[in-house]
């Protein structure tokens, strides 16, 4: 699939934002007044910023409100509704803390749950896509929520949780890649099933329908070279997991180093998220001679 920057930014930053809000909802750290404002501001900025960037790839963003209507069937719609709900709950929660210096734990816990639900909904937008076998798998929600929480912990200074998260996510990501690599083959879709010509024999594309590229190919028939992908996977892992983990564990804590670690982590997540799209193969590729 085409790794659209707007989508990568959306998933990564809204994830971080909601992850951070989740922790704040649980009172970790128990902030108030101006510090509270700063923390909540960062969290909301990330969440809302992410959501806004998601509208950049819309053909008709001015109609975005319509996207709240189909929560019964559509995960994208659900994600929208949940995001708004979450932001309002946490908004109220934040107001009370910042201006009235009162933390309503119940509200915070509910908010935290909504944060998770929102990230889960985001992940389901991809997980539900059967045509992309690599996505169509339980590991995807786990990854999305895992990254959100790890990042959230990181941003709220929950160093121990963050460190644990970093290493588990590193391991889990490796497992997820392993599982993902076999998914397309396992899905059973081949150029033969796509064309039904398997009954006759081995099938290959002879001529594409048009000599020029079209929307489908640009959007869904994106390809990354094996080598290139492996390289990026390693870079992604080091940045996302190992490096920040090492910094947190072995260097004595300094805000500067923490910042470096955080930035490394975010860069890593961005890289891995780029791969999440770039490595995802869509069945339509079969019609255009991919895996043919």
């Amino acid at each position: 699939m085409h790794p659209a920057p707007s989508i990568i930014a959306f998933t990564v930053f809204s994830g971080l934002g909601f992850g951070m809000l989740a922790f704040l909802g649980l009172g970790k750290p128990d902030v108030s007044g101006f510090t509270g404002f700063v923390f909540f501001f960062i969290a909301f900025a990330l969440a809302v910023g992410g959501l806004i960037s998601s509208t950049f790839h819309l053909g008709n963003p001015q109609r975005a409100l319509k996207a709240f209507s189909q929560w019964r069937t559509s995960w994208l719609s659900r994600e929208g509704c949940l995001a708004v709900a979450t932001l309002s709950i946490m908004g109220l929660y934040a107001l009370l803390i910042i201006f009235f210096n009162t933390r309503v734990p119940v509200l915070g816990v509910i908010g935290a749950l909504f944060c998770l639900a929102t990230v889960f909904a985001t992940s389901m937008i991809y997980t539900q896509i059967k045509t992309v076998p690599r996505w169509n798998h339980w590991t995807v929600p786990v990854l999305f929520m895992g990254y959100a929480l790890t990042g959230g912990a990181f941003l709220t200074g929950e160093v121990r949780i963050a460190a644990a998260g970093l290493i588990t996510m590193g391991l889990f990501q490796v497992i997820a890649w392993g599982l993902g690599d076999g998914r397309f083959a396992a899905s059973g879709s081949t150029i033969e099933t796509a064309t039904g010509l398997g009954q006759i024999g081995k099938t290959r594309m002879f001529e594409a329908p048009h000599s020029s590229k079209n929307y489908l190919m640009k959007e869904m028939v994106h390809q990354v070279g094996r080598k290139h992908a492996t390289k990026l996977r390693i870079i992604g892992l080091v940045l996302m997991s190992l490096l920040p983990w090492a910094i947190l564990m072995f260097l004595n804590f300094s805000h500067l180093m923490a910042l470096v670690a955080l930035l490394a982590h975010i860069a890593g997540v961005l890289t891995i998220r780029w791969l999440f799209f770039a490595e995802a193969e869509h069945t339509v590729g079969l019609y255009y001679g991919q895996r043919g």
């Binding site: 790839h57 053909g59 019964r72 069937t73 045509t131 992309v132 002879f206 329908p209 929307y215 069945t283």
Partner: protein
């Protein structure tokens, strides 16, 4: 409304004969012509006279080469447009309700005034049957010529999809696949019509008729010829007898 209807009154769709399609692209272009001028936004083209021209098409003809166990490779032309699936994932993923499946006839449509152009439905379609128009930013797809097949401004005989009407080889058939007596259902029955990517569980309405067996695979019907004569003299002898008979 993106919940799929539990039941549609008809299952209108296309049956495409891979034994007959010569790959002429007539259906591709007449579709482009009709749908540029009709239903919804025009099908736009980018760099139409430059490098990498690309435009929105609702129907495209692929060509494949198939190598049987024995015998020569075969070339098969393969037209593809929306299959108007019964279990259409493109509909349920739509966040706005722009995508829907009609109860009357099962045609899957996009209500362009509700479409935000998120592209999710195109992702959900296994077949690449939806294209986001780059000028209008709305999702375009085969409408099964819903604005032709019931159109009272068209003569009865023309109330069929543009691509079907234009297909010179008669490789495209339109009808109700819910009705076993319909011509299309009959064809599917006789010729063993099949689904594309059944494993995707989309239950396409459109069906494809397989190419008939080709080349040496058919065993010879006619007995090999018996010589009447080896050399010219003998031939003339035979000729004389033969001429007497006529």
């Amino acid at each position: 409304m993106t919940t799929l209807p539990t039941h549609t009154e008809k299952k209108l769709g296309l049956v495409i004969d891979l034994d007959t399609c010569v790959g002429c692209h007539a259906c591709v272009v007449s579709c482009k012509g009709w749908n540029t001028e009709n239903y919804g936004a025009a099908l736009s083209d980018q760099n139409p006279y430059g490098k990498d021209p690309s435009g929105t098409f609702l129907n495209r003809v692929h060509s494949y080469e198939v190598q049987p166990e024995t015998g020569a490779a075969q070339t098969i032309h393969f037209p593809k447009s929306c299959l108007h699936c019964e279990d259409a994932p493109c509909v349920t993923v739509c966040p706005t309700g722009a995508s829907y499946k009609r109860v009357e006839d099962g045609i899957v449509l996009v209500n362009e005034s509700d479409c935000i152009g998120c592209g999710l439905c195109a992702w959900a379609c296994p077949y690449g049957a939806r294209e986001l128009d780059q000028v209008e930013g709305v999702m375009k797809k085969c409408t099964l010529c819903v604005d032709r097949i019931y159109n009272e401004n068209l003569p009865e005989e023309d109330r069929q999809p543009a691509c079907v009407r234009t297909c010179p080889a008669g490789a495209r058939h339109f009808g109700d696949l819910d009705d076993e007596t319909s011509e299309v259902s009959q064809l599917v029955k006789e010729r063993g019509g099949f689904d594309l990517m059944p494993e995707q569980g989309t239950k396409p309405v459109n069906k494809y008729l397989p190419p008939r067996p080709k080349d040496e695979q058919i065993d010879i019907l006619a007995p090999l010829l018996e010589p009447v004569a080896a050399e010219p003299q003998g031939f003339l002898g035979w000729l004389d007898k033969a001429l007497e008979k006529i």
